[in-house]
């Protein structure tokens, strides 16, 4: 499979875009939850 058809498939296949969105949102949520917990842990031994 050459690279151009992969790129084409990424942009054109229905559902892939949705998966990208979900991945980004989930990733962001995880990072934000982690950061919040990290802040709150501050000063607790």
């Amino acid at each position: 499979m050459d690279i151009s058809s992969l790129v084409y498939a990424f942009f054109n296949t229905p559902g892939v875009g949705g998966a990208v969105i979900l991945t980004i949102f989930t990733g962001a949520c995880l990072i934000y939850v982690y950061l919040t917990r990290w802040i709150l842990r501050g000063g607790r031994k």
Binding site: I21, A28, T36, I39, L40, G42, G43
Partner: protein
């Protein structure tokens, strides 16, 4: 442990049981919102034919509102994130008031899109069948991530103050105290917590700045990626972004002036803040006119047939009144007011800001409608017409009322001035100036 802030009492004062005037205000705003909501339900049942939309004007006031609300949302991030990175300490008292505009206008940007959709119940098709070539997917990603990040950014900087409310406002009703208890996430105000919070906010500020640029550029690409005359220009992205920051910053002035007056916060929201924003506004209106001239001169000088139809329609045709009032409202009047009148004068500042925001709404309208009215096949199709109907105005009014409602309600339950950020002393850590710059996680 809580920060020491000599204005603490003053800032916490607006947080009390809703008064009769509060209830009246909420009732009116809620009423308008419900009225618009029922107009939307009616539109959903009957069909989008109840609007003034048609062929070729497929997008109208709803999309204008979408762009405008997302633009308003740029206020908060500009004030709190960009100025944070730039190390502008004066921003501190107004960060939360600005961010609250972001937080409460974004949902109505999204609601504007929903109101515009022929099949809002199929909105999740964008997840199930989303294809990333479409600018709508880019919008969905950018606006969604921006909203999510704004909530987190806002909430994190609110945390110490929620904890303070939890410990200080012991007279509040039970449910309200429980709310503080839960939302405070057990914040104790340990110096290390403050230190880490600052670090995260610094890091997030960089990420938020990138997002803010992305979001409004991507919004503009909904238009820019098509071949329509007047839209298909590379300038549309930066131009939308600048307009967004201009209208957002102007909205902050309006919000601040109201808060200052109604909640008697003159001491915290002192006139110096307005003078600082005044300089920003002057810069942005000048930037706006620069982009305006750059765009229209390029089109006019090039003199391409289809582009000229749209341009002349704006300059001398159907949309001339709106176009020139927009130029006057966004640039002509505000720049004069801001330079000659607004220094040390909040009344004039607010006047200029209101003019800018009305003008910016008209600008969004004038970018969107004339291009649709004069499609490329104009010589054979004839010019389109578009007159928004009562349904469209009702839903518009409702979304704005909803935004005000959320904002006013918020200010009754949470301090709208960040107590910890404006404090003289945070528990056992140095004031901000002494903080060592560090690379912090950016949040993505």
């Amino acid at each position: 442990m809580h920060p020491e802030n000599k204005h603490e009492k003053l800032i916490l004062k607006p947080i009390h049981r809703p008064t009769t005037s509060d209830r009246i205000l909420w009732f009116i705003l809620g009423g308008i919102f419900l009225l618009g909501l029922s107009a939307w339900v009616r539109q959903y049942v009957i069909g989008l034919g109840v609007t003034g939309l048609n062929r070729p004007v497929y997008w109208g006031v709803y999309i204008t509102n979408f762009v405008f609300f997302i633009g308003l949302a740029h206020s908060g991030t500009f004030i709190s994130a960009i100025l944070r990175i730039a190390g502008q300490g004066w921003r501190k008292p107004l960060t939360r008031a600005a961010e609250a505009i972001t937080l409460f206008s974004l949902p109505f940007g999204v609601a504007s899109i929903l109101a515009d959709m022929g099949r809002p119940e199929r909105v999740f098709n964008i997840i199930f069948f989303g294809r990333y070539q479409s600018p709508i997917l880019w919008d969905f990603t950018a606006v969604g991530l921006y909203f999510l990040s704004s909530i987190v950014f806002f909430y994190l900087s609110l945390l110490p103050d929620i904890a303070l409310c939890r410990d200080r406002l012991t007279n509040a009703p039970d449910w309200q105290r429980r709310m503080y208890e839960i939302l405070a996430l057990g914040w104790q105000g340990h110096p290390e917590q403050f230190h880490r919070l600052e670090k995260v906010l610094d890091g997030m500020a960089i990420f938020m700045t990138m997002l803010v640029v992305t979001v409004h550029t991507v919004v503009s690409w909904m238009f820019g990626m098509t071949l329509q005359p007047g839209w298909h220009t590379a300038l549309i992205g930066p131009f939308f972004l600048l307009g967004a920051i201009l209208s957002g910053t102007a909205a902050v002035v309006i919000a601040l002036a109201i808060l200052r007056k109604v909640y008697k916060l003159e001491e915290v929201l002192h006139i110096g803040l307005f003078n600082s924003i005044r300089k920003l506004l002057i810069t942005f209106t000048l930037g706006w006119i620069y982009m305006m001239i750059a765009e229209h001169l390029t089109i006019g000088y090039g003199n391409m047939k289809e582009e000229m139809v749209v341009l002349l329609d704006k300059f001398t045709g159907t949309y001339a009144t709106i176009f020139w009032s927009m130029a006057l409202l966004v640039f002509g009047l505000p720049v004069l007011i801001l330079i000659f009148k607004a220094k040390n004068n909040i009344g004039w500042m607010v006047t200029a800001s209101i003019l800018i925001n009305i003008g910016m709404w008209l600008e969004r309208y004038i970018v969107i409608i004339p291009s649709e009215v004069s499609p490329r096949l104009l010589p054979v199709m004839g010019q389109g017409i578009y007159l928004p109907t009562a349904t469209e105005w009702l839903i518009t009014a409702a979304w704005f009322a909803g935004m005000f409602l959320l904002y006013t309600t918020f200010t009754r339950f949470f301090p709208i001035i960040p107590i910890w950020e404006t404090a003289e002393h945070l528990p056992e850590i140095e004031p901000e100036g002494a903080r060592v710059a560090q690379t912090a996680p950016t949040g993505d």
